[in-house]
Symmetry: C2
Subunit: 462 residues, 2 copies
């Protein structure tokens, strides 16, 4: 049963499994204690810190273990903002950061600070100059992920770090998705990561604060982990995390090459096998194991269920798969199609035949969902000489992808130059109607707020 | 090799070990995902929450899992203080809470709120009326541990909860030391606990917030665990925590009886076997597995090393074993002797012969340390007719237990009615000189600050 959602959580690496087992017996005591069990725990903790620091490329005393990547991000941002409060209260992030970063920014704004989101291009990457422009005299911290967790695009971290360094602003790099593949290049100031993304156990994050970076831990004082991560140290998991990081790094080059070829296969074949698909994310500057595409006239949840039924576990950034019924903020920031969105992230060791079978199963799964929704055929609208030059479609109360399907169904009923106005209150429509226009070569005129919902206006071109 | 420090961290219970192994394979995926691995993880998480809630005696939707007991305490206090900010910013705790509670109180004061510490009696328990008196109209939260982690004294939680309930103030109970032995009685509002204290794995705490208690999670928003505990859920550890809680509860009654008898043996025999020992904590209202005593003229660190050399792992609240070189705040609050302090906390399954061997080893270990320090014999001072009726001992720069040893050496050189003034700058002296007077039947006159250190005045009585 192929599991293709390594970007959410990777199955436990065999080395992590083994190290965890061994340290359950050896590493349960408090490393702060003076007796033999404590001394043994301290030695294991020191060794794990050294191994992790070596993989990151930092000094052991710059690295602490946290209970999760999210804790590392929350602490790293809060601790730097507090220490640099005299400089200012402005935070810069990209628009496509992990929610733990964006929620930290929201917190900062709620607490009276300010935050700027640097937009990304259609491939998902920030522009270095645009990022640098947001960094101001009162900027306390800038944050940029090493690679995006939803579309795999690698960010220009080293260049951004250089720009930040020149104006004396620390850069925090969320390396959750990439640390297993290699160290983060560049002169960054803080780095965070999460062990269960590289095949380590849950319950372990990393927070690295370079020497010389002003940092003030927030919350109640606690002496453990240099005062930067409160609570009893989860040592067996830490030992397993460090051991597996070393193990995945040893295999990284070869495995990245192998998975990159499998992802390339998906990137090439999916648009050939499935009509009306948009593959998103940078084709070259990307993570080796991750690819995302969106399928017109498909709802993500039904497609996930169809794939799950066929034995494939993938995730989606479509609105219907989110608890808030909004499309992924990453897809929104990129301005790409969000309906029928599928993220495939291959765990290490994924077998080529599993990927091939996925490519066999996918077209039928998409066709099945489209057929159930009554989606139009992908043929271009026939020429039309009807006198009615404008049509209004009421899709209020209809969820993604219905408003787009309704639009596609009626576009042929107005003549070239005529308009279709779609009334919709589903949040995905704002993203997917312009995306449909781009894919279909029609003109997106714009939107206007109505008493109920929004009116999206499309002009028929061809 | 007997490990007698269960109150720091208990070795992993076999059921926890087994459950952890099983759920490493079954429970590594994200329980928020829709595919089969996610659904399986969700089922495991729901089952663990139900089991833990049943053991606590609460509804499953009142309980969330946190990364540690410390996180549960920090979040529980911060979330309640924030939600009740309009009522006031006053926090009440006992003086002998865990550092995570007292550091939260310090944080509250640093943030502009206020905090009161309710003192304890010589046995380590708060007085219900004294506690109730500190709860004011502007009190946002009161905190009381179920049982003390250093001396084992059980607190009158149900009575204090009743008092708090009557004035509408929520009570948070830190049940870290007792939850494995049974549910916390009484009408408390919040409860926290830590799995590695009951034989569960590290990395799991519990935070229970009763329905109807106003609560506002602090820090950046995160949808996991009802928004009350951020970060990826550490599911294998949670499953192991819940399974082991159920297992230790099933054995609790019988095992408590067995360990209580072993602790009673220590409480009775230690003062018979070792001269000048003070057993501290309540003899009756106490945890079944924990006993603490202090040995005059002994430094805790040397005694710990001697016991460790003989194969026994215990902890100590003596100043010399702390990173801050101050005696345990619990012993300070109780006003008991802190030098030569030993805490014995028996893990489940401790064998009687191990306790018997400890009692064989202890007298020699104490005698060895005393002899190395040149401690005086425990004989009372001989009658003395010396004309010198007051002596000053300069113990500045000398660490615990030297100032007390110096005092004991010279008390016989002044006549009854004469005084000895000890100059000391070691923080333990403030606690241990009055404690010595009480043990020796001498009169503690008082202390006064000097330019350097403190002068402690003792009047010879007998």
């Amino acid at each position: 049963m192929p599991y293709f959602d390594a970007a959410s959580a990777a199955p436990l690496h065999p080395v992590a499994h083994q190290a965890l087992l061994a340290s359950l017996d050896e590493g349960w005591a408090d490393p702060a204690r003076l007796y033999r069990e404590g001394r043994r725990a301290r030695m294991l903790l020191d060794a794990a810190r050294e191994a992790a620091a070596e993989a990151v490329g930092c000094r052991p005393d710059e690295l602490v273990f946290t209970p999760s990547g999210t804790h590392a991000v929350h602490s790293g941002i809060a601790g730097t903002l507090a220490a640099r409060r005299r400089v200012g209260r402005h935070l810069v992030t990209s628009a496509v950061e992990h929610s733990s970063v964006l929620q930290s920014a929201a917190r900062q704004v709620a607490d009276g600070g300010s935050a700027s989101e640097v937009p990304v291009g259609r491939e998902g990457a920030v522009d270095v100059a645009a990022f640098a422009q947001e960094v101001r005299a009162d900027t306390a911290l800038a944050c940029l992920q090493s690679a995006n967790h939803e579309v795999g695009t690698v960010q220009p971290v080293a260049e951004v770090a250089q720009q930040c360094r020149e104006v004396g602003v620390p850069l925090l790099v969320d390396a959750a998705q990439s640390l297993g593949w290699g160290p983060v290049a560049g002169d960054w100031s803080l780095l965070t990561a999460s062990a269960h993304k590289w095949g380590g156990p849950a319950g372990v994050g990393l927070l690295v604060v370079r020497k010389g970076v002003r940092y003030a831990p927030q919350g109640p004082a606690d002496e453990r982990e240099s005062g930067r991560s409160p609570g009893f140290v989860n040592l067996p998991a830490i030992v397993a995390a460090a051991a597996s990081l070393r193990a995945v790094r040893a295999e990284a080059r070869e495995e990245a090459e192998r998975l990159r070829a499998l992802v390339d296969l998906i990137r090439t074949r999916v648009p050939e096998l499935v009509p009306d698909v948009e593959v998103v994310g940078d084709a070259v500057r990307r993570l080796p194991h991750l690819v995302t595409f969106s399928c017109l006239y498909v709802d993500g949840e039904s497609l996930l269920h169809a794939l799950d039924g066929a034995g494939f576990s993938v995730s989606s950034g479509s609105s219907c798969t989110s608890s808030t019924l909004t499309p992924s903020h990453v897809l929104r920031a990129m301005g790409v199609l969000s309906e029928g969105n599928v993220r495939v992230s291959l765990p290490r060791g994924t077998a080529a035949p599993d990927v091939e079978r996925f490519l066999e199963v996918l077209p039928g799964a998409v066709a099945g969902v489209r057929s159930a929704l009554g989606a139009p055929e992908p043929a271009p609208p026939a020429p039309n000489d009807a006198a009615v030059s404008s049509v209004v479609v009421d899709a209020l109360g209809k969820r993604c992808p219905i408003p787009v399907i309704e639009l596609a169904k009626v576009i042929g009923s107005v003549p070239p130059g005529g308009t279709v106005t779609v009334l919709a209150d589903d949040t995905a429509a704002r993203l997917d109607i312009p995306a449909w226009c781009e894919m279909r070569g029609q003109e997106y005129v714009g939107e206007e707020q109505r008493e109920r919902g929004t009116a999206y206006v499309v002009r028929r071109v061809g």
